[in-house]
Symmetry: C2
Subunit: 136 residues, 2 copies
């Protein structure tokens, strides 16, 4: 029961892109160096963000990844859902039983967490701090 490291990488990358210039694409090479993760692996993760419509990519020289459209609205939950999927944390027996009290409680608790994550936008944190360090 842990968030994957991929989610961590995605959050850091998005934070970094928000703090940097949103105009020019940034190659996965430079994005990976700040986080000590291999470029090919980070690329896999960022492709998920592309498919989720959160960012856009450009092949070829001077290509890379770039924010698009209404990037100010992107929340923590958007990124987490793009990377981890949207399935419930509590999948008992596959079927959703709306009458089950255990099930209801677990979904309700998860919803409380998602509510918090949905109401926090990356851009707000990026504004509050030029956050580029990565300790370890």
């Amino acid at each position: 029961m842990k968030y994957s490291k991929a989610t961590n990488y995605a959050l850091h990358t998005m934070m970094h892109m928000m703090a940097a210039s949103p105009d020019k694409p940034i190659g996965v090479q430079s994005l990976s160096e700040a986080q000590r993760v291999s470029p090919t692996y980070l690329s896999k993760i960022l492709t998920k963000l592309v498919k989720a419509g959160l960012i856009e990519s450009a092949s070829g020289a001077n290509g890379g990844y770039r924010l698009k459209g209404r990037y100010e609205d992107i929340s923590f939950l958007d990124i987490i859902h793009a990377v981890e999927g949207t399935a419930s944390l509590f999948d008992c027996c596959g079927s959703v039983n709306s009458e089950c009290l255990i099930h209801q409680e677990m979904l309700s608790a998860e919803a409380a967490m998602e509510e918090k994550l949905r109401n926090t936008r990356i851009i707000d944190l990026a504004k509050r701090l030029e956050h580029s360090h990565r300790h370890g």
Copy 2:
């Protein structure tokens, strides 16, 4: 990023014990039959609950597992912590950086879920419904 099946078993078992008589110990044999899980495996899970002080066990004939003390106060979170552990869902780089905004937000969101789980007691749900079915 899923709750383990062990947590599911523990929740069902506790719900069952609350609905049944709290006086007599119930053997893991009968507890397991209701959930279609092997007795030995369920025993391992229940031992965690014993060590967490949520229930008590009695060896020998007519032994088994039984609620103890202030069992009315047991919350969802108590059981989940006993089974899954109390570590944070978001463990980046091991160290807790209180100044990191990403870290703060993730902890805050997790706290919202735990708050909900802490404020829901098993006994309340057991009262509302004699809940012993297990579909699959």
